[in-house]
Symmetry: C2
């Protein structure tokens, strides 16, 4: 039994190594540079080893994406709990989200841009995904009007943030006015709130 567990442990560690190498390579040189040959060289094994861990390159990217979601969730939580007030919390989370997307573009692409067959909006989505979405929900929920569906409202806010990130990153929108656009988005989502709800 000890031998079995040791092997499983080593195998799990190698799997972690693959995912880490893929993420680092992608963040350093973009996903185009992440080829199975290059990745195999990076982990100092031959190509077929990758396929004994993952079904293919897409599955490796999916694993990186899940890891990235955990990172994003943590950054959003930190941002949200660092400020006081519902309006500020929504802004902080929005800021954290877009900053993440612009600071770690390759990771962001794996998570939200590239086609990747992960279950997303279902109960059997990976925990990290649900955590990240949950952070958004916690920020949006306080600004929802009485009759609003919080889930749908969160998804809509998410879409706004995602649009800003992707359009800026792909050069469709100039980078410089990003903060102003983000402020506009947040402003419109908090416009319906009661005026005296908080002391700014």
């Amino acid at each position: 039994m000890s031998i079995q567990t040791r092997r499983e442990r080593e195998r799990a560690e190698r799997e972690r190594l693959i995912v880490t190498a893929a993420r680092e390579l992608a963040e350093a040189e973009g996903w185009d540079a992440v080829t199975t040959r290059r990745l195999a060289a990076e982990i100092e094994y031959s190509q077929p080893v990758l396929y004994s861990h993952f079904k293919g390159k897409g599955a490796i990217m999916a694993a990186v994406a899940v890891q990235g979601c955990a990172d994003l969730a943590q950054e959003m939580r930190t941002a949200r709990t660092a400020v006081k007030g519902t309006r500020k919390a929504l802004a902080a989370v929005g800021e954290a989200y877009t900053t993440f997307g612009r600071r770690r573009p390759a990771l962001y692409d794996a998570m939200f841009t590239h086609a990747v067959d992960l279950p997303f909006a279902t109960p059997d989505a990976p925990a990290a995904l649900q955590e990240a979405f949950g952070e958004l929900v916690r920020a949006v929920e306080p600004i929802a009007a009485p009759g609003d569906d919080v889930g749908l409202l969160t998804e809509t806010y998410w879409a706004g943030l995602h649009g800003l990130v992707t359009l800026v990153r792909s050069g469709r929108l100039p980078e410089e006015a990003h903060e102003q656009r983000l402020a506009l988005l947040i402003g419109h989502f908090t416009a319906g709130m009661g005026a005296g709800a908080e002391a700014d």
Copy 2:
């Protein structure tokens, strides 16, 4: 001179043929199916002919994207002028935009998702791009508050629409509640308007 012009005319026609074939193939089977070999077979020429017209596959996709922008601009204009009232106009354009994105996903990807080196937010952007954005501006401008920068507000609205389209299309958001999310987005963008501005 007559011969020269005839050749140029034939050449221009073949270029149109390439772009059309690329668009149709992409819309029928996705961009992965649009290989240079396949495209060459489709137009009944050999591969290198493509490279005498375009710098590479990316340039062909860019040409398709520009053509798509013209289509989108027209559909948005039709939608906008078909209704009366600023709020309804904004909704109609948003609806037209997202419908376009979901009805012609391959075209939409070439325009707004895939990396393509087209000048976007500059004066030397292709006319079709500026037209499409101009249609958005015309719909957003009436709902802008006095101090607002209309351009930035339009970009923000665009980002919201783009986020909705891409997240739904990639399976990150369930398709069914799309209309409700769109209504939420539009609602928040028109929330600041004076109540009696129009008769619904």
